[in-house]
Symmetry: C2
Subunit: 350 residues, 2 copies
């Protein structure tokens, strides 16, 4: 164990895309757990679209990360010291232990509304899956896809489902779950490579390259009877065009709006076609999957593991080496460079 703790701190609120200058590296002593706490060594750090929301100075669904604070992030970690009755050294856990080498935790991660407990990755290990899945398909990313698609979107067999950001870490899981439920699944992505990945690896029935095709024409072709469920990760023009193609009684699931996060300071693009909610007797709803962990996390994880085992659910993890590279790597989410769930390897697996 090192005796130094590298921390990446938010130095200033970003304008537009993240810049490495928005962060600074700080070295502190490794903290010691008090009674009821444990010390973790972070192994993998999740980079998520929501990072940019958290780093803005405005309240969203969580309090913003303040300048001078360690940047917030989901982590897969090893417990190295414990004064907490439920955690022992050697336990592998998923928590929210931030952009740093070490963290002290009491096992409770506040998320603005309620709390999310640090959980042990026993399910991942028992299934023989890589630890990285604790941040990807079996982490918040995959669980958001599960909850949003099944509980909010409520797809029915035979429905036409549209997923934006279909090659992304959440979109690919959302689309595959809809397909498992007997839907015809159409996706959008921003390159031929991503479209091919979604078609070949995630088995989307049809893909639309929104940078190369006219979305309106493409939706008329691929969803001629309208969209029953739209799982939206991107917002902007894609959301707007999709609303105009909703079927009667459609459910629009707002999971994210990545196209808007880096331009929010210049104003968000509202969906001008929202009146289709009226015309189509449709609904549009947001959710935060963390709210549902106490009730549903175990059940959702078990289903996802089963589908992976049955080879019906594929995923892709993209690991960047080195905590020091997180400030640069996080921008891959917003400029469309990443393929799969983006994370940083902070330390070797035990």
């Amino acid at each position: 164990m090192n005796d130094k703790n590298r921390q990446i701190v938010l130095k200033r609120n970003p304008r537009g895309a993240f810049s490495p200058e928005d962060f600074e590296v700080r070295e502190t002593a490794v903290p010691s757990p008090d009674e009821g706490e444990f010390l973790v060594r972070n192994i993998y750090l999740s980079l998520d679209p929501a990072n940019r929301l958290w780093a803005a100075p405005t309240e969203t669904y969580v309090a913003p990360v303040r300048t001078g604070e360690v940047m917030r992030g989901f982590t897969v970690s090893e417990v190295v010291e414990s004064r907490h009755p439920d955690f022992r050294p050697g336990d592998l856990v998923q928590g929210m232990d931030g952009w740093q080498d070490y963290a002290v935790s009491n096992g409770v991660n506040h998320n603005g509304r309620g709390v999310v407990d640090t959980w042990k990755l026993d399910g991942v290990r028992a299934a023989g899956l890589p630890l990285t899945t604790g941040l990807s398909v079996l982490g918040t990313t995959g669980l958001a896809a599960y909850y949003g698609m099944l509980h909010v979107g409520q797809p029915r067999q035979g429905d036409t489902v549209l997923v934006s950001g279909a090659a992304g870490a959440t979109g690919c899981v959302a689309g595959q779950i809809a397909r498992i439920k007997g839907c015809r699944v159409v996706g959008t992505a921003g390159s031929e490579e991503k479209c091919r990945l979604a078609r070949d690896e995630y088995r989307f029935d049809a893909m639309i390259d929104y940078k190369a095709e006219d979305m309106d024409t493409a939706l008329a072709e691929h969803a001629p009877d309208g969209i029953d469920v739209y799982f939206d990760n991107v917002g902007g023009d894609t959301l707007d065009t999709a609303l105009a193609h909703t079927a009667m009684g459609a459910r629009v699931v707002i999971c994210g709006a990545i196209s808007q996060y880096t331009t929010a300071e210049q104003g968000i693009q509202g969906p001008a076609n929202y009146a289709h909610l009226l015309f189509k007797r449709a609904s549009m709803a947001g959710f935060i999957v963390l709210d549902h962990y106490p009730d549903l996390r175990g059940r959702m994880e078990a289903d996802l593991i089963q589908w992976i085992k049955q080879d019906r659910l594929h995923y892709r993890d993209e690991v960047v080496d080195g905590l020091e590279n997180a400030p640069e790597a996080v921008n891959r989410l917003y400029d469309g460079r990443n393929l799969g769930k983006l994370m940083v390897r902070i330390a070797d697996e035990p």
Copy 2:
């Protein structure tokens, strides 16, 4: 009975507000019912915000009224001749018999998705209420308020409910129903007179004059814990600001968007703050009350009549004389001049 049938026909699709030149008057012979049909003499014609939507050339929730066709409208009428087994001369009915003196009907009014049957105003008469209520509080206007508030908005006792267009025919009913259900009800309207009417007559707990006050400041004052149910009749800035003030788990009910109907050709203002659906785990849904008439009209009418009898539900009917004045009068809806449910008296009550 006259032997001429005056019809007001849509001559051209309006640009911006309705203009009297968008219509022309045509005189035809009074039609004769075939087997299975009946002839009605229209007494009252409902003028509704949706009229402007119907007169645009684009598909909304119903097919557009085509140029050269009689303008579509809800009516209260007397059956004057019948070859239909369920209707007899002298029956008073609510139907969709248009901007004209006489119409032949088979009792089934297509509304784009399903059908809405012409119904007899027996409930209105048995309750001793004016026939005009068949178009206002007991017509589509009041029923939309009922369905939208109770079935879509699902207010709970103690909720803070916001209603836009609170002095309007739908808004005033929506607000009073929320109050009956034990909510604290805040409204918006565009004049001091309307705000006073809503406070004094419809007993809103607080009113915001959106033309005189800053909406953001006023909502912070009147809904300090956030809005649990927002019943939106107006769209535009009011919807956008309200979204930023939603409480956790809020339900936003899209009943209409009157601020946008006359400017739709220049582009609709989408709600930039829709991301609050995500932040607040909220939902936004549209509905068309006509869909629910087969199952719920009788029950909804009975509740509304009971509340009127108990003096818990007030309404106001604004009647303009003369079918020929409909093209001018309809603009009162969009420029904010009307107070109460706007309708035209086409003929004297029997």
